[in-house]
């Protein structure tokens, strides 16, 4: 890790040209053609931290959501080419989700604004210089005389402080607006515990997790952190495995990872939580003393009453409540955006009580962390009112897109328009920027100095890792320049640059006995300062007595044939900010496996009744609007529900997002009272349009037809050591010993090697690279897929090609359903990441007429792109169908300027007409081997980590040399849960899967 502490070095980096001297595929997209860089353009000045051909890493902080994960930014020749997790960071500990990794495509997005613009008389935008832009801003701000408002989505940090200071000095108002702000949770915490903050949840500790519609693996608070914890708690380890029960009207990815998912009547979950609390209070002791005061409040909420409301059997409720109470510690979570109905605050309050009486508060629910949050929907509405009343003349919008993320029915854009001068610092021409008069595109987080405080005790730093791609300016600098120009009230705010301002602010943090430079250098290297917040013990507040349950109201009159409408966030598109990233659009949604467009989820029974086929375009109409999208029949729904994902239907926001899909917000009530936007509070009517649109999904057959692809064991079987293959057969034979896995993996391997050695081809003893995938840990989140796209220059192909099944996902997450065929039978979901299995006895190799597919000495299933002529026989003969053919010149359209700057120079950009596939990140293997040879040492376990294994938030993927008995992969491969896909074919895969473990179905 190197750092950039002195401004002098920054000046130097100014001279770095993006055009490095590398001959790698960075700029030549022709892939397997031999045309090459014909000019050698040297750096003017040699920089200490950029060696051609060697990657340089900078620590930074992710800004894709407010979890504030730590980043390691991999740069080559002064271009950021990959985002990886920072192992030292307390939130993500070296892991990173798909959205975080796709931040790169924000940096290199073709839709970015190339420079400052101002609206001309004719309403069009015109290029201006930065001086001009800053002058205009200064003039308007100076003239506004306090009638200023700032809408910011920036995380808490030095910049936010500057922004507040700046605005208040001008007598303006700052509204910190996050689309997903979890207001109900904070309201409930105020009510029950008298503390207004979002606590940190310790999933790793929890032995029993109950989720009331909180999608903690997708968008709820800090998904990566939760997933790490969830894998610890719910992943099978020496006979132990936590349990996860999910309640909710829709089965999200989180629900799919639950041992039990119960479809309850929408909005009825508060009473469920109260009933559980009630039962625990009445049956168990050990609840905190002050909880006794609640008995009276809880008494009316009997399991029977809850059963009445939710449609669950009372027995199930009792069982879950008892299990919940007996598992110590347990954890109940609520407040997911997708489940944000009118009673959301009540629900969160009830869940607080449940956690409290079960003694989880302070154990798995830790107050004091105070996760980053905005001012809430209410304050945004107030601002809207002030705008409407003309009390605001100048508006500055920073890292927020309210015109998109507020429902049309809130008529926000009209109110916004009443401000006379509107400024946007957005990197893109999004819906809000389109309405503005002055565009001051800011730097991307990877181009600027900044910091972020995602929670108390954790501060992440951001540093410029490369030259700005376009003529943009960090908003911090803009503010400072304006202050400089105006003086007066702003005179107090002065610094030569935001970098200087930031450093000054950090002076205060320097611990005793260390000088600033060492401290600063250290912070930059670690990516920030990480402490732990002092826990804030909480007791019940008087408000706790007010908990209760009321049937949540739904907009629209209840008539026959109506459905309750759920607009839910997906893990890829979040609040819509992901919609201009090709990686995220092409990434099949982990739940439905649909790409590139919107869809309407309806329950199979409903589909049968309405005679709706998949792909038939349905019109949903609510009192507030109507949308049309193709139907997707999804069993994971309450029959009374139809669901549409959020995030698409942009009218601006760059070519990738514009006009793609529909905006589910159009159906919602934008003027709902209650201080938060209810996403599950509208009735809709469903009408068939008779039009069809094939659904662009990567889903094949969803049943594995007993082919032993996604194997599972019951907890009992896992403990007694039954082999998955045997478990398939009626219960399996108790205590049967499973043959050691590596025997299979290594079978015949040594002989082949000795033969090679005898022929003199290979002098030394080679490793055998192998992989283990633990299905008990995998949640199907698809972070590995994005990592693979970024590492291996995989092109996105677009919806038309996806319809032809031509996606290029070297690693894909297969999602198989078990059960759920007869009514009442629980539906189980199994995720299987499938990549090239690197078979020891590979069927693809002998059939290649030109040896493009062949076996390497170190057990890889080599694929030589430049030798491949494209007969595609290898793919026909591959039982796993993990070979992907470049049908058209995909690279040409996928890596257009400036997206091509992201390409990894160590990996060939494949031309059309060649077969490509997972290489076990051979470039990383060779790189590590080169390094080891330079240092005259042998490779150690962990020297080579594939991109997928590195990213996986639940550490389900392990890679290494299986011939080294000490390696993790060798130990895991010999786990009795291990099996190979389609083992009977005797292709001897190098990838071992550890069977998923199921809790015995009860109740």
């Amino acid at each position: 890790m190197t750092d950039e502490s002195t401004s002098e070095q920054i000046d130097r980096r100014k001279f770095l040209k993006v055009l490095g001297v590398t001959g790698g595929g960075a700029l030549a997209l022709s892939g397997c053609s031999t045309d090459r860089v014909t000019k050698l353009i040297p750096y003017l000045v040699q920089s200490e931290d950029q060696v051609p051909g060697v990657a340089t890493y900078y620590a930074s902080t992710c800004t894709e959501c407010h979890a504030g994960c730590g980043l390691h930014v991999k740069t080559r020749e002064a271009r950021a080419i990959k985002l990886e997790g920072n192992p030292e960071h307390p939130v993500n500990a070296g892991k990173l989700c798909a959205r975080g990794q796709a931040g790169l495509q924000g940096l290199y997005n073709p839709g970015r604004l190339k420079g400052p613009k101002a609206r001309a008389a004719d309403g069009s935008f015109q290029e201006i210089t930065w001086d001009e832009a800053i002058n205009r801003l200064a003039d308007k701000v100076g003239a506004a005389r306090g009638k200023i408002a700032v809408i910011t989505g920036a995380a808490p940090g030095t910049f936010s402080d500057l922004l507040s200071a700046w605005t208040t000095a001008l007598g303006g108002q700052v509204v910190r607006y996050h689309a997903f702000d979890h207001e109900p949770m904070r309201a409930a915490n105020r009510q029950v515990f008298g503390i207004d903050e979002l606590p940190a949840y310790d999933f790793a500790k929890a032995r029993y997790i109950v989720s009331f519609g909180a999608d903690f693996l997708e968008t709820w608070l800090a998904p990566v952190e939760h997933q790490r914890g969830f894998a610890e708690s719910h992943g099978y380890q020496d006979g132990q495995m936590g349990k996860h029960v999910a309640f909710g009207p829709r089965m999200s990815l989180t629900g799919m990872n639950a041992d039990e998912w119960h479809a309850i009547r929408p909005g009825s979950d508060a009473v469920l939580a109260l009933a559980m609390a009630n039962l625990i209070m009445s049956e168990r002791t050990g609840a905190p003393a002050d909880a006794n005061g609640l008995r009276g409040v809880l008494a009316p909420h009997t399991p029977e009453a809850a059963a009445q409301e939710t449609g669950l059997p009372a027995e199930a409720i009792k069982r879950i409540a008892r299990e919940f109470a007996s598992a110590k510690p347990s954890l109940a979570v609520a407040g997911g955006v997708g489940n944000q109905h009118r009673g959301a605050t009540e629900l969160c309050a009830a869940v607080n009580i449940l956690n409290y009486v079960a003694g989880n508060v302070g154990q798995t629910v830790n107050f004091g962390a105070a996760l980053a949050a905005g001012d809430g929907y209410g304050s945004m509405n107030d601002l809207a009112k002030r705008l409407d009343a003309g009390e605001v003349t100048v508006v500055l919008v920073h890292e927020a897109n309210p015109i998109y993320s507020l429902p049309k029915s809130s008529k926000f854009s009209g109110k916004f328009a009443k401000a006379t001068f509107k400024v946007s610092t957005s990197l893109f021409l999004d819906e809000t920027a389109r309405e503005c008069d002055l565009l001051l595109p800011g730097h991307h987080a990877l181009e600027r100095w900044d910091d972020a405080r995602p929670r108390r005790g954790v501060t992440g730093l951001m540093q410029p890792v490369m030259q700005p791609v376009f003529n943009t300016m960090a908003t911090g600098d803009v503010l400072l320049k304006v202050a400089q120009r105006l003086g007066g009230p702003l005179a107090s705010i002065s610094a030569p640059s935001f970098e200087a301002y930031l450093k000054t602010a950090w002076q205060t943090q320097v611990p005793r006995g260390s000088d600033f430079d060492t401290f600063w250098r250290g912070a930059l290297q670690r990516g920030g300062v990480y402490g732990s917040a002092p826990a804030t013990p909480v007791r019940l507040a008087p408000g706790a007595q007010q908990v209760g349950y009321h049937k949540p109201a739904f907009d629209g009159t209840e008539t026959a044939g109506d459905f309750i409408f759920s607009a839910y966030p997906t893990s890829m598109l979040h609040d819509g900010r992901g919609a201009n990233r090709p990686w995220l659009l092409e990434m099949s949604d982990p739940v439905t496996k649909i790409t590139w467009h919107s869809w309407v989820e309806i329950h199979p029974d409903v589909a049968r009744d309405l005679d709706v086929q998949e792909g038939e375009i349905l019109r949903l109409t609510s009192p507030f609007g109507s949308i049309e999208a193709p139907a997707y029949v999804y069993p994971g729904l309450h029959p009374g529900l139809v669901a549409v994902p959020l995030g698409l239907g942009h009218t601006e926001f760059g070519e990738y997002a514009k006009g793609r899909g529909v905006n589910a917000l159009d159906l919602l009530n934008g003027e709902a009272p209650g201080g938060f936007l209810p996403y599950l509070a509208t009735r809709v009517s469903v009408a068939k349009t008779g039009k069809y649109q094939r659904v662009a999904k990567t889903e094949g057959n969803v049943r594995q037809l007993g082919r032993g692809i996604a194997d599972a064991l019951t907890l009992e079987q896992a403990r007694s050591g039954v082999a998955p293959a045997l478990a398939e057969k009626a219960g399996g034979h108790e205590g049967e010993e499973n043959p050691p896995r590596e025997v299979a993996a290594l079978k015949g391997w040594r002989e082949e090697q000795q033969e090679e050695a005898r022929l003199g081809a290979y002098a030394q003893d080679f490793p055998k690279w192998a992989m283990v995938v633990d299905l008990a840990r995998c949640t199907g989140c698809s972070a590995c897929v994005t990592a693979c796209y970024a590492e291996n220059n995989i092109p996105t192909v677009g919806p038309e090609q996806i319809l032809r099944g031509r996606e290029m996902t070297w690693i894909r997450i297969e999602r198989y359903y078990e059960g759920g065929e007869s009514p009442g039978e629980p539906l189980e979901t199994r995720f299987v990441p499938v990549m090239c299995q690197h078979c020891g006895n590979a069927p693809c190799e002998p059939v290649c007429p030109v040896y493009a597919a062949y076996h390497t000495a170190d057990g890889l299933n080599g694929q030589v792109y430049n030798r491949c002529v494209g007969t595609r026989y290898c793919s026909n003969n591959c039982p796993y169908k993990v070979r992907y053919f470049n049908w058209l010149a995909y690279g040409q359209q996928a890596f257009r300027e400036p997206l091509n700057l992201q390409l990894n120079p160590d990996v060939t950009v494949r031309a059309r007409g060649v077969m490509e596939k997972c290489t076990f990140c051979v470039q990383r293997i060779r790189g590590a081997q080169n390094q080891a040879r330079m240092e005259d040492r042998t490779l150690a376990d962990g020297d080579v980590v594939t991109a997928c294994a590195q990213a996986c938030p639940s550490s389900a993927i392990v890679f290494g040399n299986i011939k080294d008995p000490g390696s993790r992969v060798a130990r895991l491969a010999s786990d009795q849960r291990g099996y190979h896909l389609l083992e009977d074919l005797n292709v001897r895969p190098s990838v071992t899967y550890l069977a998923k473990v199921l809790h015995e179905a009860e109740g």
Binding site: Q704, Y851, C868, T871, K881
Partner: protein, 449 residues
């Protein structure tokens, strides 16, 4: 169409008449001929344009939908290779068996063989991703120490096809020499010159006849094994793989039978109009068509058995992959193709048990069309349906052909038709000298054959 004059078994015409009739088929053609030729060339051009598009934009233009990585192109390739086989069978094997009815039809069928192989040979190039590197499939020394992979059935294909083309074209050319000479003697002006060159100075001397007959015999002997070997090798493209529905020991004989079946079908499709166009009704008689029909019946019945066996083995093997594959072949999304193949091949050919049908040209022609369609679909079903649903259920997918698929298919027929039409007007489509042999003839001297 008229039923045929009876007892045409022994030709009545004299040697002079034979030569006259056949040579008359050469020379200037009528408008109909040129319209046909124009059509063929037009179809070929469609194919050519499609191929250029494939070169420019990539195979993605065709309907390939993973996991279906092979479809119409390979189907058509196998189809044309198959067509060739009947020709070789009739011209070579039946010659060795001294079957009397082959003499009249063999020249046309042998020509068909050569052109069918020429058509098929285009496909290994058309269907690969980087056509411009096709030569990498050929073994040639290079500084990179790289050779093709002789374990790969695709390499076997390359050798099988080239061998087949060499032998059958030589066989055709050698057989032509005396007839070209005969034509030469009837020609005048510039035509005469051309035929003089083409006849390679054939004088019909004793020595020439001796060499000729020997060469002819050996070539026939050489061509005979190819009838079995070439299509066996082609079948191994599939049988050697793991794919359920391909991975069968039955494939080689199954494919050979199918090949001859389809070939004879094509012979019928060609000869019936041809005899009319060339006014050779008195030469191609009921006797010949009856025998061709019997051959069809025989091979068709073998196919019937093979189909039955495929399904039986799939069921009996208790291999769930095979079972699923065949179940879906019959009742899956491609059921229509599956049943087209079974009806056209297994059942339609059974009509030839009735002599009435065997000797009714209209019926023969219609049925032959069915056979061609059926056999194309056989390959389409085997290739596409098997690939659509093999081991990994998640990867299953159905494919639909696009204009690029049809363009190339059409082009292949144009290419074939173009060559055949040109041949039919330039060279005797009936072996003059061999027909003369069938006419009683007092031998004046020993030797000859």
């Amino acid at each position: 169409m008229a039923t045929l004059a009876h007892d045409a078994h022994t030709p009545t015409q004299t040697h002079a008449e034979v030569t006259r009739d056949v040579v008359n088929t050469l020379g200037t053609a009528g408008r109909g001929y040129f319209m046909l030729l124009g059509l063929a060339v037009a179809m070929f051009l469609v194919g050519a344009v499609t191929f250029v598009a494939l070169l420019k934009y990539g195979l993605g233009l065709a309907g390939y939908t993973p996991p279906v990585m092979w479809s119409v192109y390979i189907t058509t390739f196998v189809f044309w290779i198959g067509i060739g086989h009947a020709g070789t069978l009739i011209s070579a094997i039946l010659f060795l068996f001294r079957s009397p009815w082959r003499t009249v039809v063999y020249r046309a069928t042998e020509a068909m063989t050569v052109f069918a192989v020429m058509t098929a040979a285009l496909f290994p190039i058309i269907h690969i991703g980087r056509q411009w590197f096709f030569y990498w499939l050929l073994p040639y020394p290079n500084s990179r120490y790289l050779w093709p992979n002789f374990k790969s059935p695709l390499i076997w294909d390359v050798f099988a096809i080239t061998t087949y083309f060499t032998v059958s074209s030589t066989f055709l050319v050698v057989g032509l020499v005396p007839d070209v000479a005969a034509a030469r003697d009837k020609m005048f002006g510039w035509r005469k010159k051309i035929y003089e060159i083409a006849s390679l100075g054939w004088k019909g001397t004793h020595e020439q006849w001796r060499h000729y007959t020997r060469a002819y015999l050996y070539l026939a002997a050489l061509a005979t094994p190819l009838v079995l070997s070439v299509h066996s090798v082609v079948s191994w493209d599939f049988a050697m793989s793991l794919v359920p529905g391909w991975h069968g020991t039955i494939f080689a004989p199954y494919f050979v039978a199918g090949a001859i079946y389809s070939g004879v079908g094509m012979v019928l499709t060609i000869l019936i109009p041809l005899r009319k166009a060339l006014k050779l009704e008195h030469m191609f008689t009921e006797y010949h068509f009856d025998n061709l029909a019997k051959l069809t019946l025989f091979t068709g019945s073998i196919l019937f058995y093979a189909y039955a066996m495929e399904y039986f083995v799939a069921w009996y093997s208790a291999n769930k992959f095979e079972q699923t594959s065949f179940w879906l072949r019959a009742f899956g999304p491609m059921w229509w193709a599956g049943w087209t193949m079974i009806i056209c091949n297994a059942f339609v050919s059974q009509l030839f048990w009735f002599k009435k049908i065997r000797t009714n040209l209209t019926a023969l022609f219609v049925i032959s069309i069915f056979i061609n369609i059926g056999m194309w679909f056989e390959r389409y079903v085997i290739i596409v349906s098997s690939l659509s649903n093999d081991f990994e259920p998640w990867a299953w997918g159905q494919m639909n052909p696009t204009w690029a698929d049809w363009g190339i298919l059409m082009g292949s027929f144009g290419w074939f038709g173009m060559w055949f039409l040109l041949f039919a007007r330039t060279f005797p489509v009936v072996a003059i000298q061999e027909i003369k042999e069938t006419i009683p003839w007092p031998r004046l001297r020993k030797g000859g054959h």
